[in-house]
């Protein structure tokens, strides 16, 4: 299942992710990496409505009684790997053309990028399987989703900025590790989720 979900996503979304990441790299080159958060706020809909935009018809998972936690895991993994792949390609291209490379800045950029990416995936998963998506009023759904997403991401960003003041690489890596663990534990907890609440759309 993991293999096929990754193949399907790879065939359908990998270049869309390239455009998303190219924009991040472009932004990062003009401004400082601290402004990453604006990009994730811009792309937030990709994270908290990711199952709506999935190329796999969710009804297929539902009528086949498939393990939805595996689907969540594969989707998250794909987003994480493809964003990182294009991020590194972008960095490499910039290095080839401009040659300038400050090691500590690159490491900080990678850590900030991945922290916000993992945070976005994590809160996206929570919103997608929460009661927010059961509100019949689509406006309320979006409003609450945007509110929770931005609030969480702002907290994470402020937290990361405070950590960066310490300028300790191991401490930053530790934060990334915590985020990975949170996502992993969330995927385990989704084993109990056998259906997405929004699929019960009584309005159709």
């Amino acid at each position: 299942m993991l293999k096929y979900i990754c193949i399907i996503n790879l065939k359908s979304f990998v270049f869309l992710n390239f455009i998303a990441v190219a924009f991040i790299i472009f932004f990062m080159n003009i401004y400082k990496f601290e402004y990453f958060i604006l990009i994730f706020i811009l792309y937030q809909i990709l994270f908290f409505r990711q199952y709506h935009y999935s190329i796999i018809d969710i009804r297929l998972l539902y009528i086949t009684n498939a393990d939805i936690s595996k689907f969540l895991f594969a989707n998250n993994l794909f987003i994480f790997l493809s964003f990182n792949f294009w991020f590194f390609v972008g960095k490499f291209v910039l290095f080839i053309f401009f040659g300038y490379c400050c090691f500590i800045e690159i490491i900080n950029g990678i850590l900030m990028f991945n922290s916000l990416l993992l945070g976005s995936i994590f809160i996206g998963n929570i919103i997608s399987s929460s009661d927010i998506v059961t509100y019949k009023n689509i406006f309320v759904q979006y409003l609450l989703s945007i509110l929770f997403f931005n609030l969480f991401l702002t907290f994470l960003f402020v937290f990361l900025k405070l950590i960066y003041l310490f300028n300790n690489l191991f401490f930053k890596l530790f934060i990334i590790f915590i985020e990975f663990t949170a996502i992993y534990l969330f995927n385990i907890s989704t084993k109990k989720i056998k259906y997405f609440k929004y699929i019960l759309d009584d309005k159709n």
Binding site: Y4, I55, I63, A66, K194, L200
Partner: protein, 241 residues
Amino acid sequence: MIKIEGLYKEYGNKKVLSNLNLDVKSGEIQAVLGINGTGKSTLVNILAGLLNYQKGNIIIAEEKISVNKYKYKEKTGFLLENPIYVDSLSVVEYLKFVSTLYNLPILTAKNKIEELIEFFDLPKSNQKIRVYSKGMKKKVSLAATLLHNPKVLILDEPFANLDFIATQKLVKYFDNLAKNKCTLLIVSHQFDALSNVCNKFALLKNGKMEFNLNSEELSNLSKRYENSKDPVRTYLENQIL
């Protein structure tokens, strides 16, 4: 195998299904007929657990179902009105993907996929499903529905977009499945394809069950139209209208 008691479904203030009762026993093929907008697809979506319902009881494969009950899906195959497929995959890839969703052993899945590809005359090439015709996509979706040898089949318009030969083959296939104690509920408005294979015919009209008759009862009631070319069809048309 499929038991529906007093099923009510409303969309807002609009009643879609009202006090629906149906009992389909093991090895039976039940047809649910009706014109567009009578609640046939809503019934299938409720049985598939994709829609909530307000009142009633539904038992499929000895399990009382609701939206968060799912065990019965391991023994049940669903074909929805709009066929499901992943258009970026080839036919073989898609069927392999569905077999992983059902957790089928690799060898069992391989043999079943080959059998279904041969039966439905599906292409083994690497071409993506998106390039195929509507009929071919329907066949792919049907093959995926039959992949896990379900004991209960719930099918919404299985003959739509299929050619005459494929329809005839499918009718025979359903007949064989019923002989092997598979229970089938077929929702359709194509009476011609169903007439030779179904044991019982239910008519949905404005969300209510107008009647549920077996072939013999239907023939008896149609006698008053014996001057017509197809008395049963004429009787049904009169009942629908």
